[in-house]
């Protein structure tokens, strides 16, 4: 068996080496014909130098005709995803309160901590992040390929099916039918439905890319394309009936769970950043060649990092080692994206003051850099000893999923929805209020859990302290987390109300236009 193990570790190394070589070869042979002007492909003639703003009045006719194509799918997707965000964060907030006041809703099986926590994770992960993500892809793709998506009704139907299965799955969790597998708690049938819905949303996008007549396919589309191919496959493998059990199952579980972050939420958000940052600023990204490197190394390394969730566990060391090495290698794509996003934005920092969508996305992108470097570092054994099994990990997860992904999605929705609905945001001050709730909330949340988690971890490692200390010494930080979570939830209520307000306005627009035609 030792021989077999050696071979698998070698296999992994070999496959990665081949991947790196192919990437390097493609790069040097210039097979992709990338030049600095490729980055200009998102601008129409004469647009460089003039940033695009979210305001409807500044909308150019050629973009407008592409934006309103996806009106039905995008409004449906944004409205439902922000609804899941509100529901999901209320569940998360309640779970957080239970960690310092365990008797809150203590007599209801449906609202016990274990169920509410997985309800929160699935509602914000597969409701908010996923549906908002695909809605934005559906908005952005026609802009990237400069034409209508084929079979666009699949997008709408896919988002509908997605919501239906999610509702069923979340209800299943509350009623006690959790599958017991982290990140895949919803009953299997609901999850297969979501994989199918993902496939339905992906089909028009993939077809549009194959038939598009543009000279150069912009980097954002690479990320979208890959993410939409990966998600249904990942989700089906993750949910496959028990071909695995015991330790093999734990490995497959965490391989899936980290890929859901790395190969689904992350590429969509990076892709959005690659489009909207240069678009608002009015200048192409800093180095287009670097985006090539960033894209392929993300795919190569991120797909293997998941098992660092089992460091120190009863799993073969080679698998953990592969994951730790890959986690460190992740610094390459992270730095590539960081240089591109930050160097583009930093030359025009004053725009952050005037454009809140840009502020959300640039800060989101900065949090991507921070949370990724943090993730790479604490996959190392020395730090993992302390942080593993503690609230620190929860803080890190929120820095990634909220600080990075959600911030980018917030910014993108604030930028895109007025264009799609042809209606400006009715209460601009609410956007600012949401921004400050979100940024202060996430900072309080992550700082509380990082300090609390380290105290908890040190107490658990110190045999002279009873286990009790790891609980009692972190109580103050649990309250800090609830404060941060409460602020974020408040921001989400504002965000949701604002979206409803904009849509009601857009409806009355449409009705008004109908009357004029009569």
């Amino acid at each position: 068996m030792n021989a077999a193990i050696f071979n698998f570790a070698t296999l992994s190394g070999l496959l990665t080496m081949i991947g790196i070589l192919v990437t390097a070869l493609a790069f040097y042979s210039q097979a992709w014909k990338l030049t600095q002007t490729s980055g200009l492909s998102i601008f129409a003639q004469g647009e460089v130098g003039q940033g695009e703003s979210a305001a409807v009045t500044s909308q150019k006719a050629h973009w407008r005709s592409l934006d309103i194509l996806s009106q039905a799918s995008v409004s449906f997707g944004v409205l439902t995803s922000s609804f899941w965000l509100v529901i999901g964060s209320l569940a998360g907030f309640t779970s957080s309160i239970k960690l310092h006041h365990p008797e809150v809703f203590g007599n209801t099986a449906e609202l016990t901590f274990g169920r509410l926590r997985s309800f929160h994770l699935n509602a914000v992960g597969y409701g908010w992040l996923s549906i908002a993500g695909v809605s934005l892809v559906v908005w952005l793709m026609p802009r990237l390929v400069r034409e209508r998506l084929p079979f666009a009704s699949f997008n709408f139907a896919g988002i509908g099916l997605w919501n239906l299965c999610l509702t069923a799955g979340l209800t299943g969790i509350l009623l006690g039918h959790s599958s017991g597998i982290e990140w895949l708690e919803m009953p299997r049938l609901a999850n297969f439905g979501i994989a199918l819905a993902g496939g339905m949303v992906a089909t028009p996008v993939l077809l549009s890319v194959l038939t598009a007549k543009v000279d150069h396919l912009y980097v954002t589309a690479w990320y979208f394309l890959a993410a939409l191919l990966w998600f249904p496959i990942l989700f089906i493998i993750g949910n496959a009936p028990s071909i695995h059990n015991g330790i093999e199952h734990a490995l497959a579980n965490w391989w899936f769970a980290h890929n859901a972050l790395g190969l689904w939420f992350t590429p969509i958000s990076i892709g959005i950043g690659y489009y909207i940052i240069p678009k608002i600023i009015g200048r192409p990204i800093y180095s287009y060649n670097l985006s090539f490197l960033g894209f392929w190394t993300l795919a190569l390394f991120y797909s293997n990092v998941g098992v660092h969730h089992l460091i120190g566990g009863p799993v073969p060391q080679w698998v953990v080692t592969v994951s730790v090495v890959m986690s460190m290698m992740m610094l390459i794509p992270v730095i590539a994206v960081a240089i591109n996003h930050h160097m583009t934005a930093f030359r025009f920092l004053s725009k952050l003051r005037t454009s809140i969508p840009l502020r959300f996305i640039v800060i989101g992108s900065m949090m991507y850099t921070v949370s990724s470097v943090q993730g790479s570092l604490h996959s190392l054994r020395g730090l993992s000893r302390i942080s593993h099994f503690t609230h620190y990990t929860v803080g890190h997860a929120h820095l990634g999923a909220y600080g990075f992904v959600s911030f980018v999605l917030f910014g993108a929705i604030y930028f895109a929805l007025p264009k799609v609905m042809e209606r400006d945001w009715p209460y601009p001050k609410w956007i600012s209020l949401h921004f400050w709730c979100a940024i202060i909330g996430i900072l309080v949340y992550v700082i509380s859990l990082s300090i609390g988690g380290i105290i908890q971890g040190m107490a658990m490692l110190d045999i002279s302290q009873p286990f009790m200390n790891s609980v009692t010494h972190t109580q103050a930080y649990m309250i800090g987390r609830s404060v941060g979570g409460g602020l974020m939830t408040l921001g989400h209520l504002v965000f949701f109300a604002h979206i409803v307000g904009l849509m009601l306005g857009a409806l009355s627009n449409i009705r008004h236009r109908g009357e004029l035609q009569k």
Partner: protein, 191 residues
């Protein structure tokens, strides 16, 4: 060219990562049948495991003591680090990634008292004042006249006098049976 290479490249990379991390372990662990150290769960223990899963115990309790190089798990009495083989047959796995509460890998060895564990399940703060575990009172019923088969909580011993008798439901008892089955497997005779 560019478009196809993105699609094919993306698929190939996902394929190779799933071969290494999902498919390979499947072949790396083919346990000889005779060596199986996994004790099959009885029907009631299995039901208890389902209650454990349905209540989401795994979000605060791991089942994987680490070796002393990683932390004093063994010194805390949580057992020795098991081998991968000790988990054979468990589906879904419940290794866990959080220790808001203590590890439960050997709770059946460590605290075999059904009464204590039932009271702790009913209201953890009756026996562990600093605990932040949820109380699972909904896994109990109250009766004036418990039957001979009923398991009644012995609350008087700890100075609590509820107006009616608190009786454990079948789910609570099944959960206890499962917790009791969580014991450190014997070390293999020769390895």
């Amino acid at each position: 060219m560019t478009r196809l290479s993105i699609m094919l490249g993306a698929l190939l990379i996902l394929l190779s990562s799933s071969v290494v991390l999902v498919v390979a372990p499947y072949f790396a662990y083919v346990w000889p049948e005779a060596q199986g150290r996994n004790h099959e769960l009885s029907e009631v223990q299995q039901r208890g495991r389902e209650v454990y899963i349905s209540m989401g115990c795994v979000y605060c309790h791991s089942q994987q003591p680490r070796n002393p190089g990683y932390g004093p798990d063994t010194a805390r009495g949580w057992g020795y680090q098991p081998s991968a083989q000790d988990y054979a047959g468990q589906y879904p796995h419940q290794l866990g990634t959080s220790r808001t509460g203590p590890d439960l890998y050997n709770i059946g060895d460590r605290n075999p008292s059904i009464q204590w564990n039932l009271i702790h399940l009913y209201d953890p703060r009756l026996v562990v004042p600093w605990s932040i575990m949820p109380s699972f009172r909904f896994l109990f019923t109250e009766k004036d006249q418990p039957g001979p088969e009923d398991v009644v909580l012995d609350l008087k011993n700890i100075g609590v006098h509820p107006p009616r008798h608190v009786v454990a439901t079948q789910d609570a008892l099944a959960l206890m049976a499962y917790l009791k089955s969580l014991q450190q497997k014997e070390l293999p005779a020769h390895e």
